[in-house]
Structure formats: structure tokens, C-alpha cells
């Protein structure tokens, strides 16, 4: 819309108004300044008709013009500003062509730096073009990380969000042709031995330490045809295979607070706001701190990264009264059970079967010590290759002798 505000000077202004009414010219904001002067607003499309109606009886002066058309006219008349705006738009557009930030989620054993380096190698880095083939980057990442279960790259404007899911570390594959033993990977009480190849050397109920032999790959040759040297029996070397289940004990120690801190709201609060432009931050809550103890709540209203890193948030300081309360046993036990579940999830392999668990609480001055014992049934076998070099030479010679 395009509106023109004019000053009309002349006798009998009501006559002009009546004529406009008759001709269908819509008028707004008619201010009668005096008997001879009035100001009014009309649409630009009626301008010609209005000028014809006023004839020579009135003098009309344009006071201002408002609307999109005059705004554009003014804007286009200023070439420097126009170039500035065009340059600004171009810069914004140009910036939007590149990835400005990469956020990585879901890593556990790898460091963020490591992942960033690999991503850079795959072609995704801060400052690279957005037209990059993300599928190719994903495939490259799978090639670079052997135990990567899944990777997803999502572009949100100039932000690239990389989510990774790490798989379990691949079990080193032992060459099937090579002879090997199965030894204990951790200590425990043997429950069951299934030796598919090789010979089990432990019985149910035996206690084994880490590194103890469980299934041997060296099987003595029992040949009844020929007499053998009892001190030097011949051996057959096999690739030991099988499972050895043992009861393993895990012990975890956690600590809990004896007293719990309660925050009771008093109802008094202090509103405030915070502005962050780049590295500069202003927060009214840093200056005005009317309460001794308060909780701080923030609601982010504006948070942009590009073209300018601006954040605007409103906040509230709510006054609280601090109160210490001794925790009851039920609560402590509930928390301990939670800690138990966390410990199982974190430290005990998924394949293990939990047989039993126990919690032991011992009170100290200000804290409660929680000792968690978990009994699990798991396969503790680990293959290790051995080289029967010296023994085989001896064995061979003996075998040679015995066959002769």
C-alpha cells in the first residue's frame, strides 16, 4: 500500500471533502488545523482524481509518503546502501554454503579429537562445503574405525551433527591352524568346562587365577603299540577350543551422603536477563544477588550461531531455604540398588549371567560406604597361541623313534 499525507490550504475545506465523498475517494486522519488548513491521508491510486477535484481552489502540499512503494523508491535511490545490502545478503548466502560447526555425539572409547581428525581425513571439517557427499564420508569412517557400529551425519543449517555408535572391540581372531591353549582371562571358581578341542585341565570347583591354563592344546600321545619313555611322552598339538564357565566375583565400593540437602522455596524471586554476543556476556544475575541462597533458572529465547552468535535469555533467581535432613534407610537402599544396576551395566560383560548380589552398608562419620558384591557366571576362556618349537623338535624325534 502507498499512502500520501497532504496539507490542503483553501477556503471551505468541507466542500473538497464532500466532493471526495461523492467521487469515492477514501480519506483518513482528517485534522482541521484552522479555517483554512487541514491535513489528510489518501491512497496513491486516488491521487490523480484528488488533484483534479481540488482544481485551482486549494493548494496541496505533500507532507509525507508511506508504504512499500516509496520505501523501495527511497532504498533504490541510495546506491551505496543498496550495494551494502546486496553485499550483506551475498555474505550471508556465501556463509550458508559452508559447514561452520561440527558436533559429535555418542563416542565412548575414542576421543573427540580422534574422531574429528578422521572426519577431516574423510572430507568433513569446519569450513568445508555443504555439498560434500555425506554417504562417502560415512563409508570412509566405517573403513577407518573397525569397531564402528553406526554413524549418522545430519546437516542442520551450517551445523553438522555426527552421531556415532561404537561397537564392541573385535575379538582378535586366532589362526585356526595354529596350536593354542585356553587360559583364564580373570579369576574365578570353575563351574563348567566344555572342551571341543584340546583337553580340559580344571575341574568344577577349582579356583583359577588370571592366566591359568584351562584347556590345553598339548595332548599327550597314548600309544599302546610301542613303549614310550614315561618321562618324555610325545605330544599332539591342537588348536584348543571350547568354553569355560566360572563363577566370578565383582566387588564395587560406592559412597553415599548421610544427609540430604533440601531446598525449600520461600516464594521470593528476582527476574533478570542475560545477553551474550560472541564472547561478551552480560547477565543481570551476576550483578543483582539479593538472596543468600537461590536457585537459578534460565529460559533461552534467542540462540543463533550464524550470522552473529547471539544469545538472549530471561532468568529467575528463586530464593531457597537450605535444610539438612538425615536420609532414611529405604532411600539409601534404593540408591544403592541403582548403583548396583549401574555397576552391572558398566563393568560386567553382557554375556555374563548374574547369579547373586549383596549389599553391605557401613556407616562412617558423614558418609555411608556401600560395598556391592556381584557373583556372575561367565565364560572366562581366552585363547593364546604357543609355539611348540623346542618341544616339537623333541617330540618329533621321539615320535620318529617310536614309529620306527
Amino acid at each position: 500500500m502507498h499512502y500520501i499525507t497532504v496539507l490542503v490550504e483553501g477556503f471551505d475545506p468541507q466542500k473538497l471533502l464532500s466532493l471526495c465523498l461523492k467521487e469515492g475517494i477514501a480519506l483518513w486522519n482528517i485534522h482541521i488545523r484552522s479555517d483554512l488548513e487541514m491535513t489528510l491521508k489518501l491512497e496513491a491510486k486516488d491521487w490523480k482524481k484528488f488533484m483534479r477535484l481540488k482544481g485551482n481552489r486549494y493548494r496541496v502540499t505533500i507532507l509525507s509518503e508511506k508504504g512499500i512503494k516509496p520505501l523501495l523508491k527511497r532504498a533504490f535511490s541510495n546506491k551505496t546502501a543498496l550495494i551494502g545490502v546486496a553485499l550483506f545478503i551475498f555474505l550471508i548466502y556465501f556463509q550458508s554454503l559452508f559447514i561452520s560447526e561440527i558436533r559429535i555425539y555418542g563416542y565412548k572409547s575414542y576421543t573427540e579429537r580422534e574422531i574429528r581428525e578422521k572426519l577431516k581425513y574423510a572430507g568433513l571439517y569446519e569450513g568445508c562445503s555443504k555439498s560434500i557427499d555425506l554417504d562417502k564420508v560415512e563409508i570412509d569412517m566405517y573403513k577407518q574405525f573397525e569397531d564402528l557400529s553406526w554413524i549418522g551425519i545430519e546437516l542442520k543449517g551450517n551445523l553438522a551433527e555426527v552421531t556415532i555408535v561404537e561397537g564392541t572391540k573385535p575379538i582378535p581372531i586366532v589362526d585356526k591352524e595354529q596350536p593354542c591353549h585356553i587360559v583364564a582371562a580373570k579369576e574365578g571358581y570353575i563351574e563348567k568346562t566344555i572342551a571341543r578341542e584340546g583337553k580340559g585341565v580344571v575341574e568344577k570347583g577349582d579356583f583359577v587365577r588370571e592366566g591359568d591354563l584351562l584347556i590345553t592344546g598339548m595332548i599327550p600321545i597314548e600309544d599302546k603299540t610301542y613303549t614310550q619313555d614315561p618321562e618324555n611322552p610325545g605330544y599332539r598339538y591342537v588348536h584348543a577350543d571350547g568354553e569355560v564357565y566360572a563363577k566370578t566375583i565383582y566387588r564395587f565400593v560406592y559412597y553415599q551422603e548421610k544427609e540430604e540437602l533440601h531446598k525449600d522455596l520461600t516464594g521470593r524471586e528476582m527476574p533478570g536477563f542475560s545477553i551474550r554476543i560472541g564472547d561478551l556476556t552480560f547477565n543481570s544475575a551476576d550483578i543483582f544477588r539479593p538472596f543468600n541462597s537461590a536457585i537459578y533458572e534460565e529460559t533461552v529465547l534467542i540462540n543463533t550461531v550464524r550470522p552473529f552468535p547471539i544469545e538472549f535469555a530471561t532468568n529467575k533467581q528463586k530464593e531457597v531455604k537450605l535444610r539438612k535432613q538425615t536420609r532414611d534407610h529405604k532411600d539409601i537402599e534404593k540408591r544403592a540398588k541403582q548403583q548396583l544396576r549401574e555397576a552391572i551395566k558398566e563393568y560386567i560383560p553382557e554375556s555374563a549371567q548374574i547369579l547373586n548380589n549383596s549389599l553391605k552398608f557401613s556407616e562412617e562419620e558423614n558418609i555411608i560406604e556401600v560395598v556391592i558384591m556381584v557373583e556372575a557366571l561367565e565364560d572366562i576362556g581366552k585363547k593364546i597361541i604357543f609355539k611348540p618349537a623346542i618341544e616339537s623338535e623333541e617330540g618329533n624325534s621321539e615320535l620318529g623313534e617310536s614309529t620306527e
Binding site: P13, Q14, K15, L17, S18, C20, L21, K22, G24, I25, A26, L27, W28, N29, I30, H31, I32, D35, M38
Partner: protein, 83 residues
């Protein structure tokens, strides 16, 4: 209101019709402006005239036989006999 009265009210295009609320008055069936000033607006509605008297009167809109006046309205008068 009977339907006859309502029809007369709606279709009497040469009679004054005014709606006033607070500081605003809407005048309908405005055919001609007889007098206009800061304190007084007199319009012809065909058969009768309406006079709105007050202080700091401004005509906010004037289009399609309708006039919207705002300001401190003190007095509204109808006169002229077009019976």
C-alpha cells in the same frame, strides 16, 4: 423490534444513523459535509442533518458514506425536516 422497524432501519438510506461509543462516533449515510472544524462536524444525510459537537475532533476515516469521528464528544444533534 419488529421486522418492519428493522427493515426501515436498514433501508432508510437518507436518514441519519449514528453509533457512539466512548470517544468514537460512526456516522452512516453521509451524503455531504456541511461544516467541519475542530469542535464541530455537521453532515447532511439526505433528509436530515447530524451535528457532532466536542473537542479535538478528528475524522479518522471518510469513505463510502461513512464517517468515523474520534475525540471528546459532548453533544449530538439532529435537525432539518425532511418529513
Amino acid at each position: 423490534m419488529f421486522i418492519k422497524d428493522e427493515l426501515i432501519y436498514d433501508f432508510s438510506i437518507n436518514m441519519p444513523r449514528i453509533l457512539v461509543g466512548g470517544k468514537t462516533a460512526i456516522l452512516d449515510n453521509v451524503k455531504k459535509i456541511v461544516l467541519i472544524s475542530n469542535n464541530n462536524v455537521v453532515v447532511s444525510c439526505g433528509r436530515k442533518y447530524i451535528s457532532v459537537t466536542g473537542r479535538d475532533l478528528i475524522v479518522r476515516q471518510l469513505a463510502e458514506e461513512r464517517m468515523l469521528i474520534s475525540g471528546n464528544i459532548d453533544n449530538i444533534e439532529f435537525y432539518g425536516s425532511g418529513e
